[in-house]
């Protein structure tokens, strides 16, 4: 399939879905609580997109093609975009733009620290995702982008923690994430040994 077609498809799905959810929430049509709806949708969407992004490299290896790698940055950037909307929606609609309350929540809630940690990583990866940054950072670029393995675990922990008691969904997510990390066990082991020898 043509890469342009695939990219157009990714853009369309990511944006249209977002559009529908926000449209329904803004017009209060068909969902009980529009605020919970958009916060859950963007949060879970960001986690899903990070996981999809992490699937691309193993897929490329397995099928011995570079095609999946060509959309990796795009998917990663959409993960960041969803995460940014998640944060913004929490501040705007859940906290009603109450800045003091936001600061207080940021300081006091460990489960928000974890989410914020994941977001900072996604942010760092997004701003260094361009070719110029790649050239500028040289070898360090890869180490920066290895942070995604920590990021996905933090995002999952934030998701799990936000539930009152649910097990099934976070459990399934964790299984998939651990599988994706296991597929990279050599690389991850290398990261740790490098750190230890330094």
């Amino acid at each position: 399939m043509n890469i342009v077609v695939v990219k157009t498809l990714i853009h369309s799905v990511c944006l249209a879905w977002l559009g529908i959810e926000y449209y329904q929430a803004i017009t209060d049509s068909g969902i009980a609580d529009p605020v919970e709806q958009v916060i859950h949708f963007t949060g879970k969407g960001a986690l899903n997109l990070v996981i999809f992004t992490l699937m691309l490299t193993p897929l490329a290896r397995f099928f011995k093609t570079n095609k999946p790698i060509l959309v990796r940055r795009l998917m990663g950037l959409y993960a960041f975009f969803y995460a940014a909307l998640h944060l913004l929606s929490f501040f705007a609609f859940e906290l009603a733009f109450n800045f003091n309350l936001l600061m207080q929540e940021l300081v006091e809630r460990p489960y928000i620290w974890v989410g914020a940690g994941a977001f900072i990583i996604l942010f760092a990866l997004a701003v260094t995702s361009f070719h110029k940054a790649k050239k500028l950072l040289k070898k360090r670029w890869q180490s920066v982008h290895n942070l995604i393995y920590l990021g996905v675990l933090l995002a999952w922990l934030h998701f799990f923690w936000s539930r009152k008691a649910d097990l099934l969904e976070p459990g399934m997510y964790l299984a998939v994430i651990l599988l994706l990390l296991a597929l990279r066990w050599k690389k991850i082991a290398r990261i740790f040994t490098l750190k230890n020898t330094k």
Partner: protein, 339 residues
């Protein structure tokens, strides 16, 4: 006096329309829909395309999922609190017996058979007795109570419940002096409550759901056993056919679909307290000064009509605004440690 021809700029239809009209409008729109799509597109500004879209969707779910809810006879409450619309009250529920998301109860609660029902009042009483399904609506006078409902998750609603003061139900059993607490249990029927048959669906809770009150809280005139809302029987997802309402406590205390009320002399085990004692206490009084470990309880988001940009967040009141009536129950209790 200034007469306004229209206040449409200030309010949405659903904010100023009472429920019966609101529902009639639906059948009106439904008739139009039968007449054909062209008519719909050309109907006056009374109902926008979007309203039609929403209502149509809700109506489908009502027709296919819910049983017929009987109208009740009751004494009205004259409260002027602005009520949360019926659709929100009945489609945004925490009832883990049917799934942990807010929408699952409305989707899956129709599996529950509420008639026949058997509510036992037992324990430290002289005359234990039982109430069947019909008894719930006929043995006691029914009163409407328009109460604020504050969820521990920091959102709130205003619901016109219809129910019986719990004290009346307890008095009939002749409570013994030794009784210090009241223990409540929800129905345990995994065949009809999908969350009870799978710990994954039901949020890993040790069912049946249990709650408890001190005898003074249970006898308080604000405490009711609700059998209806908005003039009709309770929909299943709201805890049919009979549930507790304790308006000054977080919503999880107001246990649904009750089959057992037992008077005891020791503090009963309660479900959420057992599951996460650092987050959910036995008392669970609404208290803006004691935060949940994961979020602030100082303010709450009001669930009402309106989309993303019409949200309101209001300060949470001590005892959910019922302090004048109930504060004296807790004179000698440290509410910070007994949360």
């Amino acid at each position: 006096m200034k007469i306004r021809h229209s206040n449409r700029s200030q309010f949405k239809d659903s904010q100023i329309t009472d429920e019966s009209v609101y529902h009639n409008r639906r059948s009106f729109i439904k008739q139009l829909a039968v007449a054909g799509g062209v008519t719909l597109a050309s109907q006056p500004a009374q109902a926008s395309f979007l309203d039609w879209f929403t209502d149509g969707k809700n109506e489908t779910s009502n027709n296919t999922k819910s049983r017929q809810l009987a109208e009740l006879n009751y004494q009205k409450d004259s409260s002027e609190l602005k009520r949360t619309p019926y659709d929100k009250v009945t489609q945004f529920n925490n009832f883990y017996e049917f799934g942990t998301s807010k929408t699952e109860p409305a989707e899956h609660a129709s599996a529950l058979q509420v008639n026949p029902w058997d509510l036992k009042i037992s324990g430290l009483v002289d005359k234990p007795y039982q109430l069947g399904y019909e008894d719930l609506f006929s043995q006691f006078d029914l009163y409407e109570r328009v109460y604020r409902l504050r969820c521990v998750e920091a959102w709130s609603m205003v619901v016109p419940w219809i129910g019986i003061p719990l004290a009346k139900v307890l008095e009939r059993a002749q409570v013994q002096n030794r009784a210090k607490y009241v223990s409540f249990k929800t129905l345990y029927r995994p065949s009809e409550m999908r969350g009870q048959s799978s710990r994954f669906i039901g949020g890993n809770i040790d069912y049946p759901y249990r709650e408890g009150l001190t005898i003074a809280e249970a006898m308080h005139p604000l405490t009711i056993l609700a059998v209806g809302l908005y003039g009709k029987e309770l929909p299943n997802q709201n805890g049919a056919p009979v549930r507790l309402i304790v308006p000054w406590k977080y919503g999880f205390k107001s246990i649904k679909s009750i089959v057992s009320i037992e008077l005891t002399n020791h503090q009963p085990i309660t479900t959420w307290n057992q599951l996460a004692p650092d987050e959910y206490g036995f008392y669970a009084n609404v208290n803006p000064n004691v935060d949940h470990p994961r979020w602030s309880q100082a303010s709450e988001r009001v669930i009402t009509t309106g989309g993303l940009f019409e949200q309101t967040r209001v300060p949470t009141q001590m005892f959910n605004g019922y302090g004048e009536q109930v504060a004296n129950l807790y004179k000698n209790i440290n509410l910070k440690t007994n949360y």
